[in-house]
């Protein structure tokens, strides 16, 4: 019964959406031909939003990677919201898993010596790699989110190799709080210095250099630390369930 209902609804939605996508071209688009309207100054322009990012992005934000420029600078407020979502998820998971944590620990077989040593050796390198990804977010593909995920994966390795391993909740909380405060603090500083929340108030420097693009690297480091500690927190809460 439920299967038939599900099938019917699924087919209906498929048809409706597929018919809508007949009207949307794939690939054959000229990004420059969409002219936006600026509601604040009430003017119709000859400019197009994506084309503007591609043409002026490097000049306006100092970032070589335009996706990073959009994520952190043009639409930085979305990223703040997104970081909050992850923060909420880790808070929520922690709040739900709270009652299961106090029960006694589960017995786990020890991993063998090779795995233990190798993961101890690899741990530092993986952290370094994650840090590399988020520090260079404005120059190469990558950024705070994948970098943070890589850092969390290094902790995941330790969890799998050492059954007794346990990340200190206090330290994770402090790390994510400080990173979050940095992000909001940079935003509020921009508000005081220039009148715009999240304004890119640092000098841009020379593009393609590491110390360029103003506040983008600062924000991406904060995002990386925050994402890393939050995902580690989620992994810890999920692993921490004792039976």
């Amino acid at each position: 019964m439920k299967r038939i209902l599900g099938g019917v609804i699924a087919v209906l939605i498929f048809i409706v959406l597929a018919l809508a996508f007949v009207h949307i071209p794939f690939g054959n688009i000229d990004l420059a031909e969409y002219h936006y309207y600026n509601p604040v100054d009430n003017e119709h322009t000859q400019d197009s939003v994506p084309q503007h990012y591609l043409d002026e992005g490097k000049k306006e934000t100092g970032s070589t990677n335009i996706v990073t420029a959009v994520v952190v600078d043009y639409r930085g407020f979305d990223t703040l919201g997104e970081v909050t979502v992850l923060f909420l998820a880790s808070t929520g998971v922690g709040s739900i898993m709270y009652i299961f944590e106090k029960e006694k620990r589960r017995k786990v077989r020890r991993a063998n010596a090779v795995v233990e040593t190798a993961s101890k050796l690899l741990f530092g390198f993986i952290i370094l790699f994650g840090a590399y990804i988020f520090v260079h977010g404005h120059l190469t593909p990558g950024g705070g989110f994948p970098g943070g995920a890589v850092i969390a994966s290094s902790f995941l390795l330790l969890y799998l190799a050492y059954p007794r391993f346990h990340a200190e909740h206090k330290n994770l909380n402090i790390a994510e709080s400080l990173a979050g405060l940095t992000f909001v603090g940079v935003g509020i500083l921009g508000l005081f210095l220039a009148g715009y929340f999240l304004y890119n108030f640092l000098p841009f420097g020379l593009p393609t250099y590491l110390f360029s693009a103003g506040v983008i690297p600062v924000i991406y480091v904060a995002v990386g630390v925050k994402v890393g500690s939050e995902l580690t927190g989620i992994v810890d809460a999920m692993m921490g369930v004792r039976e």
Binding site: I9, A18, G27, L54, V67, E82, S90, P141
Partner: protein, 112 residues
């Protein structure tokens, strides 16, 4: 003709919706939600594709790039998807600890 990328992503979304409606196992339902998210992400990225364009990283040699905005949106959407999934899974674990079952109808029976 509808481009196959759109069809594929709509198919993923629809399979996800089918799983959510038809299945009674909670972990399966969450897999369905995740699949819907993935489908929408693929949809957004295909909308931003420009034939012959390269990734929007300015190295000087290229002049045609793909649309950067959907990529920024999808970065956000991926993280949101994983957050919802983690929270949903922890709720499922909580339900399992309370009822000893993952099936929706058994849980409903348990409550009565």
């Amino acid at each position: 003709m509808i481009p196959y990328y759109y069809l594929a992503s709509v198919a993923l979304i629809v399979i996800g919706i089918y799983i959510v409606i038809a299945k009674k196992n909670l972990i399966k339902i969450i897999i369905g939600l995740d699949m819907m998210d993935t489908g929408v992400n693929l949809l957004l990225i295909s909308i931003g594709y420009v034939k012959g364009g390269t990734a929007p990283i300015e190295n000087g040699n290229y002049t045609l790039y793909v649309d950067p905005i959907p990529q920024a949106l999808v970065l956000t959407a991926i993280v949101i998807g994983v957050s919802v999934m983690a929270l949903a899974l922890s709720i499922v674990i909580g339900l399992y600890k309370n009822t000893g079952s993952l099936e929706l109808d058994e849980i409903r029976r348990e409550r009565k």
